[in-house]
Assembly symmetry: C2
């Protein structure tokens, strides 16, 4: 009976939808399940959203806006780039283990979006955002550790996203935390090789980026 603004309802329903998807999967995220989770009537749903697909679009768009990749942010606080990469990847993994439903929900939404005409543009934006966010972290970490990257940062960022996605899928499938940690450590080893000290004592005429 209380009147709630349209925007508040929108975000409340989007939050509820995300909880339902995380808990029960995207196929269980019916309009009825969502309004039950948000404790609203079905009609309220259709007052603020034209359709279920309209809500899904809002949900994915909101995720793209707000995803922060906070876990990897610890990467910037260091003077040792190898250690920074390792800790950043480990931090991501800890978030995954703590909230597997969240990562699984993101995967389900990605695959769902790829099937929908309305949402088809969003996966590209989502990954562009992942890549640029990780690239920013890589630049900050390199600067803080006084090194430069020897390959384009965009490529390294994409590699990191590929590795975290791949580790996520494998861990969701078999829950082998030790094996997943070894993959991440190997990734950190391999990526750390792609740096060179910024303030070398002797002049180094090589190009920063490989040709």
């Amino acid at each position: 009976m209380v009147r709630i603004s349209s925007t508040d309802r929108r975000s409340a329903l989007i939050d509820a939808a995300l909880r339902v998807i995380g808990r029960d999967g995207i196929h269980a995220a019916t309009t009825r399940a969502i309004v039950a989770e948000a404790d609203m009537s079905l009609a309220s749903f259709h007052y603020v959203f034209q359709s279920r697909d309209d809500m899904m679009h809002g949900l994915v768009a909101s995720l793209i806006e707000t995803q922060t990749l906070a876990a990897l942010a610890s990467i910037t606080e260091t003077t040792d780039i190898h250690r920074a990469l390792r800790l950043g990847l480990q931090a991501y993994f800890e978030v995954l283990v703590a909230h597997p439903q969240h990562e699984q929900a993101l995967m389900e939404l990605l695959l769902y979006s790829l099937r929908s005409d309305d949402l088809a543009d969003l996966p590209r934006q989502q990954y562009a955002r992942y890549h640029s966010a990780v690239a920013e972290l890589l630049v900050a970490a390199a600067s803080s550790a006084r090194v430069s990257w020897t390959r384009p940062v965009a490529d390294i960022a994409r590699t990191i996203v590929c590795i975290t996605d791949g580790v996520t899928l494998a861990w969701l499938a078999d829950r082998d935390a030790e094996a997943s940690a070894r993959v991440l450590d190997f990734a950190a080893d391999s990526l750390a090789v792609l740096t060179r000290p910024l303030d070398a004592e002797h002049h180094n005429p090589e190009r920063v980026h490989t040709p």
Copy 2:
């Protein structure tokens, strides 16, 4: 009107289900869509399968049986392990680009299985099979190239599966083939480092596996 054996019907329906999932996604793989694809009646479906979930279990189990990872098999035909890794990963990527629906269907089935009580054991089996299949290829390739791996083959196999899965997701999202190829090439570079020649001229006392 023609009588078909139960087992033939089963496999025909499973094939049809896989085609529907590949074309339209797992949420579109209703019993009706599947029997239409297989050109059967709805009742025939329930004659051979107790329920839709029963069929899904048969589908995933059959995929686990038959998946061959043929693409990576080209990895074994070489004397240069770095080249072998690169070609193997590139071959996988070509299969992905040629049949993206197939890889997407596998991802959807994985996430679907993780949500279902009946199918919850299958993802673990699926990834165990991936890992052992890749491990076998790695052993064969190393033998053919007269090198040995300096880390446990199981870990390297898992790394490769993580990379291919991650590259698959990213490419499905943004279809950037060049960037994906650079990630795979970097992976080949990094993995090739984990080998040492088998028939070194001088005796090398170090352990084969890192401690």
